[in-house]
């Protein structure tokens, strides 16, 4: 049911000179930026976890492992024609749903969220898969619809997004749910849903958000996070607030702010060294960059992300078919929102949710998934002439 690729086989002899061959169209800029960001990520994870002498290299080693696995996964994904992947979207999507259901039953509760499978010393986070699954599922359906989306088809698309979102919300993992909502919305825009529907959906989303906030689904501490975000400039706080969520945010801003122009130096950030910022190797990894590398380093990181996002956007423009475009735009939305949400929350312009910074935060599932998503983009880019 997917598009049928037209494979034009060339004689082996001229493979090397085939201007449309995949190998000539690896987006090296994208790959280069990703590599640089990943290296920085590994360094920052090390800086925020190494502690005093003798330095702890556990996290360093593991993150290197995750990056390595991610690279392999990205390469693997890039090598398989994306059309074949999209063809198998239903299976991949269904499998993700199974994992999401499963984690609620046998998963481990951590940080108030039941979203992790414990696999020996490692952890698997299905909600990370959910994001990509939504992109794939969407791409699958939208390609079928060829841009002609009536109400019924719109419903189908929404369903594709809504089911994983709901399951993720029930964990509850507000952050990932939010990303998936944004991805869904962006892909609806990309897929050609009519403007007025989009507006209606927008209003509906706001109402739904209000519903979620006022229902008991959100944990108190998640509600606190939103409250603290809203009142971060206010001086009056209860003791509990001081010690809890507000503290995280304050420490984060202090770390970044005190970095100034040049930062305190790699591995030399006082707050990073002495564990002053909670969750610094995961959600708040950006604070390490801000403190130790200053505006120069943090700005360069944001710029590097910007380049990545640009390249994804450019690939979407250049893609050979709608499927490719949709895939790229989905990944684009996912990354843009994640980056904006994560870095924004460390700086106090977005509420705190538990979303990792792709290619920087410590974490197997998130790193590998990010690489896989990049693999898809590279995939599309490589095959744009074929």
């Amino acid at each position: 049911m997917a598009t049928i690729p037209v494979t034009r086989r060339r004689p082996l002899a001229s493979l090397r000179h085939d201007p449309s061959a995949m190998w000539h169209h690896v987006d090296w800029v994208l790959a280069g930026c990703l590599a640089a960001i990943s290296v920085l990520g590994v360094l920052m994870v090390y800086s925020s976890t190494r502690g005093p002498e003798p330095h702890d290299t556990l996290y360093l080693q593991r993150q290197v492992l995750y990056v390595a696995v991610g690279l392999i996964a990205a390469a693997a994904v890039a090598l398989i024609d994306y059309h074949r992947i999209v063809d198998r979207a239903p299976i991949l999507y269904g499998g993700t749903l199974v994992l999401l259901l499963g984690v609620m039953v046998v998963g481990r509760e951590q940080k108030g969220t039941q979203g992790w499978f414990a696999l020996g010393p490692f952890q698997l986070q299905p909600s990370e898969f959910a994001k990509v699954a939504v992109v794939l599922g969407f791409a699958y359906l939208a390609t079928l619809f060829h841009g002609d989306i009536d109400l019924r088809r719109l419903g189908a698309l929404l369903a594709v997004g809504a089911v994983p979102i709901a399951l993720v919300l029930l964990q509850p993992d507000l952050g990932t749910a939010l990303v998936s909502v944004v991805v869904t919305f962006a892909m609806l825009v990309a897929a050609g849903v009519r403007g007025r529907f989009l507006v209606l959906l927008g209003i509906g989303a706001v109402l739904f958000a209000a519903l979620v906030l006022s229902s008991g689904v959100l944990d108190t501490y998640q509600q606190d996070r939103l409250t603290v975000f809203a009142t971060q400039e206010s001086a009056s706080r209860t003791l509990e607030e001081e010690r809890g969520v507000a503290y995280n945010l304050e420490q984060s801003k202090i770390a970044i702010g005190s970095g100034g122009l040049q930062g305190k130096g790699l591995f030399n950030g006082p707050l990073t060294m002495d564990d002053w910022v909670p969750e610094q190797h995961t959600d708040f990894i950006f604070t390490a960059v801000g403190e130790e590398l200053g505006l120069v380093g943090a700005g360069a990181l944001i710029a590097a992300y910007g380049v990545v996002v640009w390249r994804i956007w450019r690939t979407a423009q250049l893609a050979r078919d709608d499927t490719g475009t949709l895939l790229c735009l989905g990944v684009l939305a996912m990354f843009v929102f994640q980056i904006f949400q994560n870095i924004g929350m460390t700086m106090g312009i977005m509420p705190i949710t538990g979303i990792p910074l792709p290619f920087m935060s410590y974490g197997g599932s998130s790193t590998v998934m990010a690489f896989i998503a990049m693999g898809l983009v590279l995939n599309v880019h490589m095959r744009r002439f074929r």
């Binding site: 841009g147 002609d148 962006a186 825009v189 990309a190 897929a191 050609g192 304050e250 420490q251 801003k253 202090i254 770390a255 970044i256 702010g257 005190s258 970095g259 100034g260 122009l261 006082p270 707050l271 002495d274 564990d275 002053w276 801000g290 200053g294 505006l295 943090a298 700005g299 944001i302 992300y305 910007g306 996002v309 956007w313 979407a316 423009q317 475009t325 735009l329 684009l332 939305a333 843009v336 929102f337 980056i339 904006f340 870095i343 924004g344 700086m347 106090g348 312009i349």
Partner: protein, 790 residues
Amino acid sequence: MTRSDSRARHTVLGIVALSLFAALFTRLWYLQVLTTDQYDQAAAANRTTTVILEAPRGKILDRHGNVLVDNRRTIQVQVDYQDFEALDPPDQSDLLRRLAAELTADQVRIDAGDASANDPGGDGPAEVATGAEAEGPDGEEEGAPTPGEGDEEGTTTTVPGEEVDPATLPLDQRPPPAGVATGASNPDGQGETRQRLSTPVTEEILRERIEDVRYSKFKPVPVANDVSEELEIYLRENAERFPTVVVERVTARNYRYGALLAHVLGYVAPVSEADLEQFQNDRKRYENDDEIGKDGIEREMERDLRGTPGRIVYEVDARNQPIREVEDLRRQPVPGDDVFLTIDINVQFLVEKGLAGEIARQTGRRSDGCQAEPPCEPPGGSSVALNPQTGEVLAMASYPTYDPNLFVGGISTRDYQAMADEERKDVHHDPLLNRAIAGEYSPGSTFKLFSAYAGLATGQITPAEPYNDTGVYKYRADCDTTVETSNCFKRNAGRNPNGVVRLDSAITVSSDTYFYQLGHRAWLAKDTIGEEGLQEAMRLWGLGSPTGVDLPGERAGRIPDPDWLWDYSHELNDNPADAEERGTWNAGISGNTVIGQGDVGATPLQMASGYATFANGGTVWRPQLVYQVTSFDNDTPTMLLAPEQTGTVPFQPGWHEAMASGFEGVTQAGPNGRGTAYAAFSDYDQAAFPVAGKTGTAQATNRNDTSLFAAYAPVASPTIAMATVVEFAGFGSEAAVPITRRVMDALASVGGDLARLNEPTSRYRAPEGGWFDVEAAQEEFVPTVVATAD
């Protein structure tokens, strides 16, 4: 979807992405460029923690340099409130039960002498094996610390029921002297002499202390003072069985003379909001649970006694563990200044023993002055001794009293209420009240000093003018004196006629009718001398206003005059007719005023000051308690206070001599007649240290008489002036005079030289701990009891 449509959508998405990144950059710029300093500072502050070092409080000493109040080390058990609240309730109960058991066992060990409660490396005599916690019967720690004398060390194990001579017990196990309130079990100081065995600490008691609102919840709450070193070691080694429990060596205030001089010294307790408003400052900053003086000199000289806290600043990690010290910011604590009082602790001891002894002697007696039901039951009394030449306060006592050590380490609400609750005044008789400065009494005949002067000053009498004392004074010539209830005449207190008297003999025999006629004449002459003629002359002596002594809580007393009476009557009476009738001054009221009854009110300090002024010939000195403040490390005084004159009472020729002759006659049976205090002074050697004075017996309807006596000595150049009041204890000569005699006897024996009283071999030297046995005190002096009315 058209190509251009799709292009448009792509562009929209692209623009959205771009704007988000722009927002990130902007915010980053804001944090790292525009406001970076603020965050840099916050980062630095984050990383340091400051430990405040307490500074020792200054000492308080008497005029001879005897240390009255200093500090001692005590081992204190504390509970961290925040951690405690974080425990589950069953764990909390468990912990408290175990802790209570350990504390109780430790008390038993200390009482038996098997353990020592004092830090052997701290201040105080090292041989004390018996310093232990003093307990109220409900087990609340009161921390009576007295480092006893070396030879009081004893391992006396007492069998309940066995008669033991209290003087042989270790100092802190003796029953409190009479009149020393010790809490709920002994709110008025009349608690039975009994063995003070420690009562067990219970879980409930500990919980009550932990929840007590007076303790800051952000520092560990003290739950027990004066525990033994063994317990300290035990709790430290078994810390995992006693979570949230901390053992600290802290400094505690130490009142070395027990209950002696309690009202002058005051006490310390945790600072309150109101205190912070008044005293908080940056140089000697108060933390929420610091001690502050609450009363007496501790309060009056708080700013000097308080030491300057020091600090150590540490760099810490996120778990608040110190990494290293920031040496530049270290500040050493500076102990507070020492305060020297004019008080002579030995005279104080004599006075307090006298008060307690005489009150005990009078209690239950039926006498001429104690006719009402029930017989004499004096609830309280006071005595003040001054140096007439300078106004220095030599002694100031108020009965009942309390032991300021009670407040060290925290007093339980129950004990405090038992001694201070307004509702229970008739039970505890206000041991915390300093009657010397806040008790406003009817002076009775002691007031005649001021009336006599006023009569002379307004020209109503002259020293030589005779008056025939028939025992009755008629305000109207047609007054029928057979009708006792008629209010147109008054009798002498003893109803006896005294014959012809002049000013001096009128004073000596305390002729009331002489003074009634004085008052009447003054009122009749109001057109010439004014309606307040007498009162103005009386106020020259400082009456009716506070004396300005350096203590908080002084009352002004009252000299009533027609204006005051009018206002007062209208305040009290709603019915205008009543108000007018009772608010109108008349001769009778003048009469009452002149003999020190009616609405006249004076504090013992004012009376002592008045007689001191007379003794020195007319200079009104401000009563002075503090004469020197010295910083802790050198002997040069930082502040020297000189006596301050606050008024003058001018004497015309002949006045002083006549009055002095009158007062001298009071203690003798001489040319002026038989003095009202003669009986009590009949065996006194007037040649060595002659005493002059005036008795007073203040009457109240349906109540026993209040006994007063004011005196000064030696007559030629006086070095001491005293005023004593004992409430509802009979005639002036029954209770107040004997108390004065004791002091005069002691002074006479050393020729009036206070320094000799202070010598180590002197039998009058006050012992550390200030303890005395009230029965022995009674027996020390046996007055010749032939009371005379005055």
